[in-house]
Amino acid sequence: MTNGGIPDFSMRELGDFPDFLPKSGMSPFPGLRNVPISYLLTEIRNVPFCQEVSCSTTSGSFT
């Protein structure tokens, strides 16, 4: 399970992120690794005032 806060990125910076957050090395979202960016965006859109995102697996299936 990984989780991480969302830094103050703007929509403009969305274009700079990879499709899949890296398993290791630098991730733009501290604490979140090996997660597709689409998941992240869905989470953010669903939760009002979203400050933190979490997911329970690293294999590609998410809850």
Binding site: I6, S10, L14, G15, R45, P48, F49
Partner: protein, 742 residues
């Protein structure tokens, strides 16, 4: 001539330099602006403090920080003068509505300049100062570069109330000055609202609301209402404020002093009068002022018989317990020109300023609302096509033009979308956006309506004025009571009235003996000196001295030296002409009549008050013919049929009705007794003595060792008309020395 030099006549240069300096002082230093009622230094202090975050709810900061910012950023002048301006705005006894809330020693009424140095004191703005600043960020005022062009500062502050009248102002420019008294916030606001409804309102109509100036220190304004109205009409005039007092037991307690009057100074003035023995009815004087009673001066009368009202009238007339104030409503108007303005014009101009400020504020808000509405419209489109928007941003190198084209968005809208924070993606909800859109649309409608209607705009201004008056208004402190002008107690009324005998010696020394039963001849005289003349009067009267040239001089009898000593030479206190000697002394009530005469036989009746003079050099009263001498004056008896007796050195005596002599203020008079001109010229015959007597009195003639007493019936032989030669006295009595009345 070297390049870059200009040649100018000195006249042109000095004229131009002085004119430029004058204009600078008038427009940019000494006079306040009608809009915010501030001079440039005050405006810069208030603005710099707001920039330092020194609002009314913040923690105060050292004054030195404010002053450093003010002179370093906006006002390149002396730090001391700048700090003094700041202190003034913090003193609750100097400002009716202080702009600065100071901590520490900011001076006292006794000595307003006794404040601590700026490294000790701390300050923040008051809630009232917020009225000048709240709309600053709303596009309400013009901004100008500071002195070095690195910063910008507001040209005026967007005052929500007419601070110009509330706090007043005073300043001296070149060739003009300003003196605006402070006023009450509620009254002035009410007048503004009236003027808003009725722009042609007269002074009388405005003064239904504005009673008059309202000083921070309270006290009473005693100027008649008609004069106050006249002052508001012309913008020019003067006011009088008087201390308030009450009686506590037998003592007088002064509870409020006029504006800008120091209690210490008043005490000094009263003490000086006590020291000079001009206040015998005051026994003691104390300053009991403390934290609870900022003004409490106590005067203890000598006894409970003292007329306290009369005493206070005297103190009002002679000390700073009552003082006048000049009023000159000179301000820089909306046209940028200084001018003295009446109340309607002053308030009218301020309302014009306020209307323009509110209009600018609304226009500014309208612009913001429209921009936001445009952005919201963009957000709504983005929300509806969020996946596509994200895909474009993630796939396109330059997503902006693509978004603009694909969704028909404007530059501002796309910028707002791109700047939207990721964590706020959830906010892109249709309902929320639509709610905000609805709210803003309603606001836009209301703003446009207000801006489009003068009545709506005036209504808004009126509501804001009422709200501010409710929040910041307070009760009037200065009461307005028309009172009659205070009268000082006449100095002579303060002097005890005791009988005195004024004695003049042959050499011109004077003294006053207590009582009327003194024998002046028995007093001690310096060697070679002796009694010359005496007069009996009272100590609160003026003694008049007559000199050999016919000039008179007056001195207060109570100020003459005591008869226990030899007295003082009159020449020490008076300046008679060279060679003159003193020839007589007169004392009595001012309306008493005396006969002045010369030995040439001329004389007249004079009122004593006509001989009074404050001049040390005296004043001319009796014209002395050539070769003649002044005779000792005599008082006129009270009877209408009084007689005048005049005798020559050759024994001619004439008794005539005194009514035959004219009453004059000065002059030679008329001939009393006729002496042939040649005989007088040769000094063979002259008037040796004269006396005024009542018809029942006896006349005593002294001639050497002899004397003769003439009964009223005996006098008939000598009766005659004024100017006659008179009848010869019996042999042996013709060498007349003096006449006496018994």
């Amino acid at each position: 001539m070297a390049e870059g030099f200009e040649r100018l006549p000195l006249k042109t240069f000095t004229e131009r330099a002085y004119l430029e300096y004058s204009m600078y002082v008038i427009l940019d230093r000494a006079l306040p602006h009608v809009g915010d009622g501030l001079k440039p230094v005050q405006r810069r202090i208030v603005y710099a403090m707001s920039e330092l975050g020194l609002g009314s709810l913040s923690k105060p900061k050292k004054s030195a920080r404010t002053i450093g910012d003010v002179i370093g950023k906006f006002h390149p002048h002396g730090d001391v003068a700048c700090y003094e301006a700041m202190v003034h705005m913090a003193q609750d006894f100097a400002y009716r509505y202080p702009l600065i809330d100071g901590q520490g020693n900011w001076g006292s009424t006794d000595d307003p300049k006794s404040f601590a140095a700026m490294r000790y004191t701390e300050a923040r703005l008051t809630a009232y100062a917020g009225l000048l600043l709240t709309e600053l960020a709303h596009g309400t005022v013009e901004w100008a570069p500071n002195f070095d062009g690195t910063l910008s500062e507001p040209v005026l502050l967007p005052a929500r109330l007419p601070n110009i009248l509330l706090n007043g102002s005073s300043g001296i420019a070149v060739g003009m000055s300003t003196d605006i008294p402070p006023h009450n916030l509620r009254e002035v606001t009410a007048a503004c609202i009236h003027l808003l409804r009725k722009p042609r309102a007269t002074v009388a109509e405005l003064c239904v609301h504005i009673q008059g100036p309202d000083f921070p220190t309270g006290a009473e304004l005693v100027t008649p209402r008609a004069e106050i109205l006249q002052m508001y009409e012309t913008g020019n005039g003067s006011l009088r404020a008087r201390a308030t007092w009450e009686r506590e037991g037998g003592e007088i307690v002064i509870t409020a002093l006029p504006f800008q009057v120091s209690g210490g100074r008043v005490l000094e003035q009263i003490a000086a009068q006590m020291h000079a023995k001009k206040l015998p009815m005051v026994e003691d004087l104390r300053d009991e002022s403390d934290h609870e009673n900022p003004t409490r001066l106590v005067i203890t009368p000598r006894s409970n018989r003292v007329d306290v009202e009369r005493l206070m009238q005297h103190l009002f007339a002679t000390t700073d317990l009552e003082r006048p104030y000049r009023v000159n409503l000179n301000v820089i108007g909306l046209d940028g020109r200084p001018g003295v303005r009446g109340l309607p014009e002053l308030l009218g101009q301020w309302l014009e300023f306020r209307t323009a400020t509110v209009r600018r504020r609304l226009e500014h808000r309208l612009r913001k609302v429209e921009e936001r509405l445009q952005v919201l419209e963009g957000f709504l489109i983005a929300f509806l096509h969020l996946d596509a928007v994200i895909a474009i941003i993630r796939s396109e190198d330059r997503p902006k033009p693509v978004l603009m084209e694909r969704f028909g968005l404007t530059d501002i809208q796309v910028e707002a979308i791109l700047e939207l924070k990721l964590r706020h993606l959830a906010r892109l909800e249709e309902i929320k956006i639509r709610t905000e859109q609805d709210e803003l649309a309603a606001e836009r409608k209301s703003l446009a309506k207000t801006l489009g209607s003068k009545a709506q705009l005036n209504r808004l201004i009126r509501m804001e004025l009422l709200a501010d008056a409710e929040q910041h208004g307070d009760e009037r402190r200065t009461t307005l009571i028309e009172r009659e002008a205070a009268q000082a107690i006449d100095e002579t009324a303060l002097i005890a009235s005791e009988p005195v005998t004024v004695v003049l010696s042959k050499r011109g020394w004077a003294r006053a003996a207590k009582g009327h039963d003194v024998d002046p001849a028995s007093l001690t005289y310096r060697s070679g000196d002796g009694l010359y003349a005496m007069a009996r009067g009272r100590s609160n009267q003026l003694a008049v001295f007559l000199d050999s040239t016919g000039r008179t001089y007056s001195l207060s009898a109570h100020l003459l030296p005591s008869a226990r000593g030899p007295g003082e030479p009159l020449s020490g206190r008076l300046n008679p002409p060279d060679g003159a000697s003193f020839a007589g002394v007169l004392i009595g009530e001012p309306k008493d009549r005396w006969v002045l005469a010369t030995d040439a036989g001329y004389g007249f009746i004079v009122k004593l008050e006509d001989l009074y003079t404050r001049n040390r050099a005296g004043k001319s009263a009796l014209t002395v013919p050539k070769g003649a001498s002044v005779l000792t004056p005599v008082p006129v008896p009270s009877e209408d049929d009084a007689l005048l007796a005049a005798a020559t050195n050759r024994g001619r005596l004439l008794i005539m009705p005194l009514a035959g002599l004219p009453e004059l203020a000065r002059g030679k008079g008329l001939r009393m007794l006729g002496i042939p001109a040649a005989r007088f010229k040769a000094r063979e015959e002259f008037v040796a003595a004269f006396a005024a007597l009542s018809p029942q009195a006896r006349l005593v003639i002294y001639s050497g060792q002899r004397k003769m007493s003439l009964k009223p019936s005996d006098l008939k032989a000598y009766r005659g008309e004024r100017g006659r030669r008179g009848a010869l006295l019996p042999r042996g009595l013709r060498n007349v020395d003096r006449l006496a009345v018994e």
